[in-house]
Symmetry: C2
Subunit: 111 residues, 2 copies
Amino acid sequence: MAAKRGYDTKTIDHLIENVSENELCDLAELFKVFGDSTRIKILFVLFHGEKNVTEICDALDMNQSAVSHQLKILRTSKLIASRREGKAMIYALADDHVKTIIAMGKEHIEE
Amino acid sequence: MAAKRGYDTKTIDHLIENVSENELCDLAELFKVFGDSTRIKILFVLFHGEKNVTEICDALDMNQSAVSHQLKILRTSKLIASRREGKAMIYALADDHVKTIIAMGKEHIEE
DNA sequence: TGTTCATATGAATATATTATCATATGTTGT
DNA sequence: ACAACATATGATAATATATTCATATGAACA
């Protein structure tokens, strides 16, 4: 299915060779970040462009503090980036990996 | 970076459009499964081919019960498949999504 | 400087998750 | 039918995680 889209199988095999125990734990840590519905929702909101905290709270219909706590986790994992604009903090996806990883997950679910 | 490998950006954008709240929760559930070092280790062992439970326990140097509990979670998420062979249960990766998802995660970490 | 708006953070509680232990189930061979 | 082996499962205890509440920080502006 991935190959169907031209994703290089040899590259994948290379990527998953010779992985140390530490790297495996880092990987688990990364996926753990995706493994929470609040955080996934935040990422989806940011798919549509950058947003400030209040906008994210409104989109999720959630408490500002809860959202900020999760934003911190996403920032720490470098999945999102932030910059200040006056009083507001603007958040955006850090790179395209986020979209790709989530798209692959969605493909799996849809089968 | 993903595009560099020929992964179709339009396809990705389509995959992440119009996602319901339920689908987002399912996605989070899926990633949660990847988000544990024991389970990631099991998946990596299975990258090298199918294995029975005892072999997986040896590879991970872990208690059989702990491994079986995690195998169940991986089975439920359809990330691995099992079949019986005599007394033993043989486990294998269910499909290539697993490799692809993990490879994408690894790419992210390596930057 | 004081007030308001926007966001971040610490502490506490509630909930979820994992590994362990004990035991059950299922298979093979005697 | 019974013993030995392989795996699964239920209950428990230890740990991790998310949300809430209260409060702190920081920017803008009168």
